[in-house]
């Protein structure tokens, strides 16, 4: 019984930054990377299953990204799990989530996993598409925005809750294997202990290229993507309109704005 958890190091951009020379991304000097928050919850959900059901459950974090992305895997492994997988090579530069999903699905097949837990979305680009794309590739059922899970590893179905708009939730039964995209708040991710962080440094991380997975060059990178970035730009900043004057004048203006907005509604 294996659970695959694809995780991503998201790029956190500085307040002041510059674009790359080709104008299609930002200058990486201005990016700091951290593990996507949603993925932390997905990994925690896998960890809990492993703790509850023991060694028969193998949980594997996977990342698709360059060497720096290994940090994300180590962060997961510091909390549990025995090994990780990182897939990358230069042909995979500029892959969109659709191309990434092909890589993840290939790893899922190669590892013959039984479930995939992905984060609902990532905080950098907010695609909300990778997990469900993996299901599309594997031909598995999927459920997005899972906020509660009752699942016994190996069982043919799982019961879950999906968080919908406005706080409404849907209770659903799903056939397994399946891809679930995990929502924040489904659990409380643990804190990696010092011991765990040290142990994680020694855990093996398998490094694969797209050819190792039997993928051709045109199945990854821009060629394997469903969209291509033409250009990136900094939007005209919606600078706050400054309300000036004495506090009496400022308050009067605030009151006018509020009353006008309430009138429009």
């Amino acid at each position: 019984m294996k659970i695959l958890v694809p995780v991503k190091q998201v790029g956190v951009l500085d307040e002041d930054f510059e674009l790359r020379d080709d104008g299609r991304d930002v200058d990486p000097d201005y990016l700091e990377h951290e593990l996507n928050e949603w993925d932390d919850y997905a990994w925690e959900e896998a960890l809990r299953l492993r703790e509850e059901y023991g060694d028969d459950v193998e949980i594997i974090p996977l990342t698709v990204g360059p060497e720096e992305a290994e940090d994300g895997l180590r962060k997961c492994l510091a909390k549990g799990g025995e090994r990780g997988i990182r897939v990358w090579d230069s042909a995979m530069e500029d892959s969109d989530p659709m191309a990434i999903s092909r890589v993840i699905a290939s790893v899922a097949e190669r590892e013959q996993v039984d479930m995939v837990f992905a984060g609902t979305l990532a905080s950098d680009h907010g695609f909300a598409q990778t997990g469900v794309s993996v299901a599309g590739r594997l031909g598995w059922p999927q459920a997005a925005v899972v906020s509660n899970l009752e699942y016994q590893p190996g069982a043919s179905t799982a019961q879950l809750r999906r968080e919908l708009e406005g706080g409404l939730e849907e209770v659903m039964t799903i056939q397994c294997p399946a891809v679930l995209t995990i929502q924040l708040g489904i659990n409380e991710p643990r804190y990696a202990s010092l011991r765990g962080i040290k142990q994680a440094k020694a855990k093996p991380i398998e490094e694969l290229s797209h050819t190792d997975l039997g993928l051709s060059d045109d199945q990854v990178g821009v060629a394997g993507s469903a969209s291509r970035v033409r250009r990136m730009y900094v939007p005209e900043k919606g600078q706050a309109e400054l309300i000036e004057g004495t506090s009496a004048e400022q308050a009067q203006r605030i009151a006018e704005i509020i009353k006008q907005m309430q009138g429009e509604a």
Partner: protein, 457 residues
């Protein structure tokens, strides 16, 4: 400080520095910076400046130590300097240092608007030709009187409004501002100024403008009799403003049609017993709410309000320091958790009431007990492992929490809880050392900072 202590703290600092170096950790390095001598600082700075983004982050952070801000002021990177000059934590001396030999106009403008810029510094960057500069200096509370006189000659209405709020404005300047434009808003600011000349104050008090009378009523120099006179003003806003400055409420306003006036009366520390009884019966729940919180409310009134239909009124009684114990016990089993939570944060709780609230399911009640110095350690130990992260944090905010209880929060999954923990004086030294190696940068920073300042004291 004894020699042994000194040795110990030096030893610690060296060890922390080694840690920062081995991990190339800018956060530990920044926290250590003020405690080091020149050569050691160089080591820290090397770590901090290894990446372009790091100095920029420290330049805008509110927590950055002054020694590091000083070092950042010598940077060449324009973005770092721009951030530094806009950081409200940047002290005068660093601003001054930053301006030396720097002729960047935008940074000078930023200094002109900076709350820590001294009068002398503002004086040195005066530029009558720049409207941005002029405006910033006119609105800066530190601007000195002489500079304001210089600016006055060409000041716009907007700039005059800024000067009218400046505490250093004297009566002569305020007189000139008063006649400068004849603007009501500007005059209203002058009327509330503590240096407002008597004749202008009385002009404001007798003005047709509600705004002027209201602002004048808020002037700290009004005598009680002047304030009492204003209580008969036809405008409720003026009555409220004058009432606010008085210690006592007055019977004449007992039936004031404006509920805001009655609300204000309900807050007074000198209240006639008949008046307070009337207010406690007021149809406006805010009037009752303020009475319930008023420490001069007699027991009979509190007993009555403890049964009020409004949750917030009952909560007010539970927050009142004059409420008798038996009433507190009653409120501790109120149907509304928000009332029980008000009991839970009282510092005068006895064991019996704590026991009563012990098993409450409300997060507000538990968080209240968690930060209550009267709570027993066994209860805190229990709350420290509650599933809700905000409830757990309450224990780290409890000044009486023991080091044993605090240890339970050491591996709390929520970083803010661990960062809060670092600042607790009872947290053991070994535990602080452990947190210097935390996965979260703010936690490491706080832990190192605490260790250093403990070593120094």
């Amino acid at each position: 400080m004894s020699a042994i202590m000194m040795a110990h703290s030096d030893h610690s600092i060296n060890e922390l520095l080694d840690q920062a170096r081995i991990n190339q950790d800018p956060y530990r390095a920044a926290a250590l910076h003020p405690w080091l001598d020149g050569s050691q600082r160089a080591i820290c700075e090397k770590i901090i400046f290894a990446h372009r983004r790091q100095p920029r982050l420290f330049a805008q952070a509110s927590y950055t130590p002054v020694s590091l801000l000083q070092r950042l002021a010598r940077e060449k990177d324009q973005i770092t300097l721009n951030k530094l000059v806009k950081n409200t934590a940047t002290p005068t001396k660093v601003l001054k240092q930053l301006l030396q030999g720097d002729d960047d106009r935008q940074r000078q403008d930023a200094v002109a608007a900076h709350p820590n810029a001294s009068a002398a510094l503002l004086d040195s960057i005066e530029d009558q030709e720049s409207s941005v500069r002029r405006e910033a200096i006119c609105y800066n509370q530190n601007t000195g009187l002489m500079q304001m006189y210089r600016l006055l000659e060409r000041a716009s209405l907007h700039e005059c409004k800024g000067m009218a709020q400046n505490p250093h404005a004297d009566s002569t300047l305020l007189r000139q501002l008063w006649t400068a434009f004849g603007d009501q808003y500007l005059r209203a600011e002058i009327a509330s100024h503590s240096n407002c000349p008597t004749e202008l104050l009385s002009a404001a008090l007798n003005s047709e403008s509600t705004l002027l009378r209201r602002k004048a009523a808020g002037n700290a120099n009004l005598s009680d009799s002047q304030l009492v006179d204003l209580l008969t003003d036809s405008n409720a806003q003026v009555r409220v403003a004058s009432l606010r400055r008085l210690e006592h409420a007055t019977l004449s306003l007992i039936d004031d049609p404006a509920r805001r006036v009655r609300r204000e009366m309900a807050r007074k520390s000198v209240l006639d017993s008949q008046l307070i009884k009337n207010l406690a019966d007021d149809e406006d729940h805010w009037v009752r709410r303020w009475v319930a919180r008023n420490s001069v409310a007699p027991e009979s009134v509190l007993r009555k309000l403890a049964k009020d239909e409004q949750t917030e009124v009952r909560r007010g009684v539970a927050r009142n320091s004059s409420t008798p114990v038996d009433l507190i016990i009653e409120l501790a089993s109120d149907a509304e958790s928000w009332v029980r939570a008000a009991v839970a944060i009282r510092s005068d709780l006895d064991e019996e009431i704590i026991q009563q609230l012990h098993d409450d399911e409300s997060v507000d009640v538990l968080a209240g007990l968690g930060r209550n110095p009267a709570s027993p350690q066994a209860l805190l130990a229990h709350i420290a492992v509650h599933p809700d992260r905000d409830v757990r944090r309450s224990v780290a905010l409890n000044p009486r929490a023991s080091s044993e209880v605090l240890e339970r929060l050491l591996e709390d999954p929520y970083p803010i809880n661990r960062a809060t923990l670092c600042r607790h004086p009872a947290l053991g030294e070994d535990e602080l050392w452990q947190l210097t190696d935390d996965a979260q940068e703010q936690v490491r920073f706080s832990a190192v900072q605490q260790l250093c300042s403990r070593g120094a004291s």
